[in-house]
Symmetry: C3
Subunit: 286 residues, 3 copies
């Protein structure tokens, strides 16, 4: 039994549209025309354009803080106008309206999907007409979210599919090894690069803590042991708390807002300096 | 008979204030003090400072998507503190509150004005006092919009003027000619330059499609014919769909968010590179 | 007797989080979960990171325009995770929820505090749990503001302290002197540097007008007298109205959005060019 939608409805928006153009404002106009009492929250409109994985990671860090019954609309949609499907996914605490392009991969690790619907022709009456080829945020995702908020059931929008059939992004995972001297070493990967050139890795803080606990049970003194981070052409000791912990131009590793280890260069661009790209490996050695 | 205002009121804001300062937030505080149940939507606050034509074009592309009865407030106002008038314009589906400086030129092509009022001393009781010389967004436009939302009639604010008497921006229009070889050629003009140096032209997509249809009826095969764009110092073939279609540093022509042909340089500034300025001519030859 | 809170509640947000990350959106999700009918206004999220004085000055210029009974939440909090206290301050027209780090210094010059409470363990039930070490915007300030909006009394949150015991920022003040030729001279100080390198001074417009009136009563003709501004390595005549009044690369002095004299360099960075830093002195000579 899914959680009922909030009344008045709460709809969040996540896009790569930026706020300079009127795209986001127009989506809100479309929503208010259908669900006049909706409350709207901007999660972010600054996703790096067409970076599905970044959008997915930003959502993952945010959706848990919203009341059960919230509707999340995501429009990071490089396939707009192609054959990619649009979907509505219901979890135990939320509804997601998004292109079926993998953008829900990470939030759905936190909130197990209960039902998934791929939009079909049945949803056409709920689209904005004429349907444009390039702005489905306005013509598909905003109106579908608003109609859901106004009480349209999932069944009316398309065919139910097993949630496992939704497109998922391939995700690297960190793993443990040892260096030549037998010291424990964690291999991480660059998950995505944000618009500032910061590298967001696949290492989550909870996993890091589990790793440290595991080493402690093996007798390692993780509290006093020094850490070596090796990322691309650079190597340094210790994790930083803030950018101010290092000099301008120097790299640092820190726990980012999404709960993942991030690599940045103070006043610089880590992706370019090191250089590293999504999928590349880096290591932390104890 | 005009469409009644929405209840609860819906007010959109368009300014060149940016979001770093608290100007926009303060305008919202002023609105909520007068119309506590208003719903507020930011269209954009990133209009290039004092670029009335850009604001007008951004509005044109956006206002059609809002419910009948919406109030649009526009504060792009280089004449603030001078003798320029402020106006309220009622169309069949919206109310506009703006300086009478031409900023409504383009939206009023879509929504024919039914009534126009220039604010006079009669509006003074609805202004914020003391009236500043520089921030009429806070002291004039926000409170007037909120009082309209709260039920104050247009008559109470000033003198009715024929809508044709409102200030209009001079607008270039594209026109058809032929090149030396007799091929059909469209002459366009730069309408405005946005803050990224992109050139927005006076060619609307609908006009382009009409032009192509016209050529087809004359026997031209517009589907397979190649296109040559000549803009300033550069010339290239074909329209692009996205920036990714060209290499960094290369120019491209594409249909922009407002439905107009735009010229940009990937990772660069078209206005400076080509160089071109508002009013300059460019051509598309079939 | 304090002004009752607005119904529905009105809550403003001021942070240094920016809008690229989802921090601000998450704070709104937390607020809506507790106070579903709240109206939310963003004052600014572009305070220079950790610049408490800048946040204080931005607030000072804004809070007077909100209805009595508004709740202002401020999260510019370099001491997060340390022993710094959090506080709720009630003035005759507003409630402030903020770290007790001096950020309220300037707004409290306009709105005399009537009651101040430092949060203690008593407030724990109103925090988000688990309480993070780094994101008190989400875990402390947003939920406390929302609970206040929902009717929780100040007493329930901590111990009342004399408002004079709140942390205050040391503030420079402008003062009058004379130059070698006996001409009246005003010594100002840089209050803070914003993210564009503009220098915001401690000279308020009202004080400037008082100074001019004072000189007039002493027989000076302040209307026609020329003004010399000396700031760091540069010296120039007259105050400007807008950036367009000077050439690119040239410095100017103008009345900023917060009612203070500001020094900028057109298309440049005044803090770096002149160079000047917070606390440094500059002069205006008549």
């Amino acid at each position: 039994m899914p959680h009922p939608l909030l009344q008045p409805p709460l709809i969040t928006l996540t896009t790569d549209f930026g706020l300079t153009d009127t795209y986001v404002g127009v989506m809100k106009g479309v929503i208010y025309a259908i669900a006049p009492d909706a409350r709207l929250v901007d999660l972010t409109h600054d996703v790096t354009p067409q970076n599905i994985l970044e959008a997915s990671a930003r959502l993952e860090a945010a959706v848990d803080y919203f009341s059960p019954g919230t509707i999340h609309v995501i429009v990071v949609d490089p396939g707009v106008g192609s054959e990619r499907a649009a979907c509505v996914v219901q979890t135990e605490i939320a509804l997601f309206v998004a292109p079926d392009n993998g953008v829900l991969t990470l939030p759905l690790r936190h909130q197990a999907p209960e039902r998934a619907v791929r939009l079909t022709e049945r949803a056409q009456p709920y689209f904005r007409q004429p349907l444009s080829a390039t702005f489905h945020g306005r013509d598909v995702f905003a109106p579908i979210a608003a109609h859901l908020a106004a009480g349209v059931p999932l069944d009316a929008l398309g065919d139910e599919v097993p949630p496992d059939n939704l497109v998922r992004l391939p995700l690297p995972v960190p793993y443990t090894t040892h260096n030549a001297k037998g010291r424990p070493r964690l291999l991480l990967h660059v998950l995505y690069v944000d618009r500032f050139g910061n590298l967001i890795t696949d290492l989550e803080r909870s996993e890091w803590e589990r790793w440290q606990t595991g080493l402690q049970t093996q007798g390692a003194d993780t509290k006093t042991a020094s850490i070596t981070v090796q990322a691309g052409s650079r190597r340094w000791q210790s994790l930083a708390r803030t950018f101010a912990d290092v000099s301008p131009g120097e790299p640092l590793a820190y726990w980012g807002s999404g709960g993942r280890l991030e690599i940045a260069v103070r006043d610089g661009n880590a992706a370019r300096l090191l250089p590293l790209a999504p999928g590349d490996t880096l290591t932390i050695t104890l």
